[in-house]
C-alpha cells in the first residue's frame, strides 16, 4: 500500500487512531444490529410462545418503545449540541446555571412516564405470580450443572400420573396447561429460564420458588441457567417440550412402563452388567435388578456433592444430555424435529432417539472422558474440599469394548 498517500489523505480529516476507533465502533454497532436479525434464535425474548411470556411481552414492548424514543430524543439533542457548539476557536459564551421551570418539567415528565408504566407492571407481576389456576405441578431442582425434573403424582392437566417420574434436562409438559414449576437447588444458586415461555426464576437451596409455565402449542423451547453457578455454568442448559394431551399421556405411559431387560447374550446385555458394576452407584435405572432379583439402587449421595446424578431409565427419550448441552440426535434429525410443524412434532418427539438418528459420537466421547467434554470438579486426587465427593461425572477409564457394550445398552433406554 502506498503509505505516503494515506498519511496525506488522513491529515486533512482525522488522526488515524481516532479513525480506527470510529471504524471499530461502526463494525461493533452493525454487528450487534445484524445479530438482532438472526432467524435461528430460539431464545429470542421478543418471540413469546405461551401465555405467561406473552404477558411479559405485552408489558415490555411499549416500555421498550417509550425508552427507545426517549433515548433517541436525548441522543439527538446531545448530538446536535455537540455539533452546533463544537470548538471552532470562538469565544467562550456567557455561562449560566439552573433553570427552575425546565428542571421541574424534566422531573415531572419522567415521573409521569414511570408512574404510567408502573400500573401495567404491577398488574403483570401479580398475574405472573398467580397460583390458583394451577393444573399440574412439577418439581425442578438445579445442581451443578444440570436440571432435574420430578413429576408429582396426581393430575397433570388431563393426564393422571400414578407414580413419580424423574428425568433430566428436558422438561415435558402438556400444551395449553397451567403448569407450576417448584424450583429449588441442591448446591449453589441457579436460575431457570425458558425465554419463550416465561421469565427467570432463581433456584436457591432450601427455598422453593414457583414459576408458571404454559405453552400454546407443541414444540421445543430452549433455555439456559442464568445465574453463574461455577465451572460449567455455560454448559447448564435446558429445554421445555410441549405435547398435546394424548401425546403427553403417551410420554407418561412410556416413562412408567416396565423395565425391559436386554436379550440374554446380546451386546446390550453385557452392557447392562457393565452398567450395574460401574454406573449404578450414581445413576438410577428404574427396576434394574441384580442377579439375585434384588433391586439395583443408586447411592449418589455417597459420591456426588449434590446427592444426585441424572436418572438414565429413559435417556433415549431426551434429545440432549449432560446439562442438555450435547446432542443425542444427529444434526439432521435434530433440525427436522426443531423445525417440525406443531401437528407433526409430537409423533416425531415420542419416537425418541432411534438407532438411525443416534448421535453416537457425542455419547461415546462422554463415556470415554466426561470432564474433557464438560469441565467438572472430578479430579480424584483433588477432592479434599468436598470430602471425596465429585461435582459432576468423573473419568471412569472405561475400555473401548466396555464403551461399545454400554452404548448398546443405553440405546435401549427409551
Amino acid at each position: 500500500m502506498d503509505r505516503s498517500k494515506e498519511t496525506v489523505s488522513t491529515l486533512g480529516r482525522m488522526p488515524s487512531t481516532r479513525r480506527h476507533w470510529s471504524r471499530a465502533a461502526l463494525f461493533t454497532g452493525v454487528g450487534l444490529l445484524l445479530a438482532g436479525c438472526a432467524n435461528n434464535a430460539p431464545q429470542d425474548i421478543f418471540e413469546p410462545k405461551g401465555e405467561n411470556a406473552k404477558k411479559i411481552d405485552t408489558l415490555q414492548r411499549p416500555v421498550f418503545y417509550i425508552a427507545g424514543i426517549v433515548a433517541l430524543i436525548v441522543i439527538g439533542i446531545v448530538g446536535y449540541a455537540m455539533w452546533k457548539f463544537r470548538d471552532r476557536g470562538q469565544d467562550i459564551p456567557e455561562q449560566s446555571h439552573g433553570n427552575p421551570k425546565l428542571e421541574i418539567a424534566l422531573t415531572i415528565l419522567p415521573a409521569i412516564i414511570l408512574a404510567a408504566i408502573s400500573v401495567p407492571t404491577v398488574i403483570s407481576v401479580f398475574e405472573l405470580d398467580k397460583k390458583t389456576d394451577t393444573e399440574c405441578i412439577i418439581n425442578v431442582t438445579g445442581q451443578q450443572w444440570w436440571w432435574e425434573y420430578d413429576y408429582a403424582t396426581g393430575q397433570c392437566g388431563d393426564v393422571k400420573i400414578d407414580k413419580p417420574i424423574v428425568t433430566a434436562g428436558e422438561l415435558v409438559i402438556p400444551e395449553k396447561t397451567n403448569v407450576l414449576l417448584r424450583i429449588t437447588s441442591r448446591d449453589v444458586i441457579h436460575s431457570y429460564w425458558i425465554p419463550a415461555l416465561n421469565g427467570k426464576r432463581d433456584a436457591v437451596p432450601g427455598r422453593l420458588h414457583t414459576l408458571r409455565m404454559q405453552a400454546d402449542q407443541p414444540g421445543i423451547y430452549t433455555g439456559q441457567c442464568t445465574e453463574f453457578c461455577g465451572l460449567s455454568h455455560a454448559r447448564m442448559r435446558q429445554a421445555a417440550v410441549a405435547l398435546t394431551t394424548s401425546d403427553f399421556q403417551q410420554w407418561v405411559d412410556n416413562q412408567l412402563k416396565e423395565y425391559v431387560a436386554p436379550e440374554a447374550g446380546s451386546l446390550a446385555a453385557e452392557g447392562e452388567a457393565v452398567f450395574t458394576a460401574n454406573c449404578s452407584k450414581c445413576h438410577q435405572v428404574n427396576d434394574l435388578k441384580n442377579a439375585d432379583g434384588s433391586p439395583v439402587l443408586s447411592d449418589p449421595d455417597l459420591y456426588v456433592v449434590s446427592g444426585v446424578a441424572p436418572n438414565l431409565s429413559h435417556l433415549m427419550n431426551r434429545t440432549a444430555f449432560a446439562g442438555w448441552t450435547f446432542d443425542l440426535l444427529t444434526e439432521e434429525c435434530r433440525t427436522a424435529l426443531w423445525t417440525a410443524k406443531p401437528a407433526d412434532f409430537g409423533a416425531m418427539y415420542l419416537k425418541g432417539v432411534t438407532p438411525e438418528c443416534f448421535n453416537e459420537v457425542a455419547l461415546r466421547d462422554w463415556l470415554r472422558n466426561p470432564p474433557a467434554m464438560k469441565p467438572m470438579f472430578v479430579d480424584p486426587n483433588n477432592l479434599s474440599s468436598t470430602g471425596g465427593k465429585y461435582r459432576g461425572m468423573p473419568n471412569l477409564n472405561l475400555k473401548p469394548d466396555q464403551i461399545d457394550q454400554l452404548i448398546a445398552y443405553l440405546l435401549g433406554r427409551n
Binding site: T132, T134, A152, T153, V166, P300, D301
Partner: protein, 382 residues
C-alpha cells in the same frame, strides 16, 4: 566532610561486604557461590552510590555555600521527640516473642511494627520538608490523619464492642436487658447534655468520655476474667420422642426446650393439616384445592413442611425417615424427626432431607401424628 546520604550508603556498603564474607565462608556449594557474588555486587553498588553522594554533596547543597548547609530543610534537627522508635522496638521484640509463643502475639506485633515504620517514615520525611517546623507538622498531619483517625476510631469501636459483649455474656439474661437499657439511656442522656450545654469546656467533655470509656473497659475486663454465664443447650429431638417410645419426662423436656424454627410460608413443599376431627391431609404448594395423602419428595432435596394443628389436643408431626441396615449388615431401627407438640390452632415447621430411594428402606417414609390412629401422608421418594 561526609554528607548524610553518603554515610548511610557507606554503612550499607560495609554491612554488605561483611555479609558477603560471612556468607561466603559459611555456605558452600553453588548456592554459596551465587549468594556471595550477589552480596559483593550489592556492596559494589552501595559503594558506587556512596561515592556519588559524596561527590554531589547529596545533591542539595552547593559545596561552595557553606552556610546554606545550616539553613536547608535537610539540615534541620528533628522537632519533637518521637515515640516511634520505641513502638518499633516493642514491635520487633513482640515479633520475636510471638514467633516462639502465640501466633496472635506475632500478628499484633507485626501490625505495630508496620504502623510504627509508616509513622516514623512520614515523621522523618515531614520534619525535613522545609525549614519551618509549623509547616512541617501540617504536612505530617495531612498525610497521616486520613489514616490515623479511621483506624483509631475502628480500634476504639472494637474495644468498646468487645468490652460490652464480655459484660453481656457475663451477666444473666434478665439482668442483661436492664444493663442494655441503662447503658443506652446513659449514652443518650450524655448526648443530650453535651448538645444542650454549649459552654462546656473541651476538656470537661473529654474527661467525662474518658471516665466512661475506662469504666466500660474496666468492667469488661473484669467480666472477661469471671467468664460467661452458663448457656443452656436446646435438647436434640430424638427418634424415640418422635415415635412416642421415649419416657414422659424426655418428651416433656423436648416440648418445652427444643428449638423451634419458623420460616416463610411460601417456601414449604406442603402444608400439613390435622383437622378438628383428627383427619390428616396435605396441601401441595401450588395446588391449593386438592387434599393430598401422598406427596412426592425429590431425593436429596432439603424440604420444609408446615404443620397446622386444628385438633383439640397438643400434637406433633412426625416424619418417618426409614429403616436401614447398618454398614455391618445388622438391622437398624426406624429413624424419625418431628416438630415439638403444638397447641390447637398452632403451627410448626419441619425440615428434612431424604437421600435414599424408598426401596432402600424396609419401612415406608411417611408423616404421622403420634396419638392419631390410621392417619398418614405417604412420602414418595422414587
Amino acid at each position: 566532610m561526609f554528607t548524610t546520604g553518603s554515610k548511610l550508603f557507606l554503612g550499607a556498603t560495609a554491612l554488605s561486604t561483611v555479609s558477603a564474607i560471612v556468607f561466603g565462608a559459611s555456605v558452600g556449594g553453588s548456592a554459596g557461590m551465587l549468594g556471595t557474588i550477589g552480596l559483593i555486587s550489592v556492596a559494589v553498588v552501595f559503594a558506587f552510590i556512596a561515592g556519588i553522594n559524596l561527590f554531589t554533596r547529596d545533591g542539595n547543597v552547593s559545596a561552595t555555600e557553606a552556610d546554606v548547609e545550616r539553613n536547608t530543610a535537610a539540615a534541620q534537627a528533628g522537632v519533637g521527640r518521637s515515640m516511634w522508635p520505641l513502638a518499633a522496638a516493642l514491635g520487633s521484640a513482640g515479633l520475636v516473642v510471638g514467633a516462639v509463643s502465640k501466633p496472635v502475639v506475632f500478628k499484633v506485633s507485626f501490625v505495630i511494627l508496620l504502623a510504627a515504620a509508616a509513622e516514623w517514615m512520614v515523621q522523618g520525611f515531614s520534619e525535613r520538608v522545609s525549614a519551618d517546623p509549623k509547616y512541617n507538622e501540617g504536612i505530617r498531619k495531612r498525610l497521616l490523619h486520613p489514616l490515623e483517625f479511621p483506624l483509631l476510631a475502628a480500634v476504639g469501636a472494637i474495644v468498646f464492642i468487645y468490652s460490652f459483649s464480655r459484660i453481656m455474656l457475663n451477666i444473666d439474661k434478665d439482668a442483661g436487658r436492664w444493663v442494655f437499657m441503662v447503658i443506652g439511656a446513659i449514652i443518650t442522656a450524655a448526648g443530650f447534655i453535651f448538645a444542650a450545654k454549649r459552654g462546656m469546656g473541651k476538656s470537661t467533655a473529654a474527661g467525662i468520655i474518658t471516665v466512661g470509656a475506662l469504666a466500660l473497659v474496666g468492667v469488661g475486663i473484669a467480666s472477661a476474667v469471671s467468664g460467661q454465664h452458663p448457656i443452656e443447650e436446646h435438647p436434640e429431638i430424638t427418634s424415640a420422642v418422635c415415635l412416642g417410645t421415649a419416657s414422659e419426662a424426655q418428651i416433656e423436656e423436648i416440648d418445652t426446650k427444643a428449638s423451634q424454627s419458623v420460616a416463610a410460608k411460601s417456601n414449604v413443599l406442603a402444608n400439613v393439616h390435622l383437622t378438628s376431627d383428627e383427619q390428616l391431609y396435605a396441601l401441595n404448594t401450588g395446588i391449593g384445592y386438592v387434599q393430598y395423602h401422598e406427596i412426592m419428595v425429590p431425593q436429596s432435596n432439603t424440604v420444609h413442611v408446615m404443620f397446622h394443628n386444628d385438633s383439640a389436643e397438643p400434637r406433633r408431626l412426625t416424619i418417618h425417615l426409614g429403616t436401614f441396615k447398618a454398614a455391618d449388615g445388622t438391622e437398624g431401627s426406624e429413624e424419625a424427626d418431628c416438630t415439638t407438640a403444638v397447641e390447637k390452632g398452632g403451627t410448626a415447621f419441619l425440615t428434612f432431607k431424604i437421600t435414599k430411594s424408598q426401596l432402600a428402606s424396609t419401612t415406608p417414609y411417611r408423616l404421622t401424628v403420634p396419638g392419631v390412629e390410621d392417619q398418614e401422608i405417604k412420602l414418595l421418594v422414587p
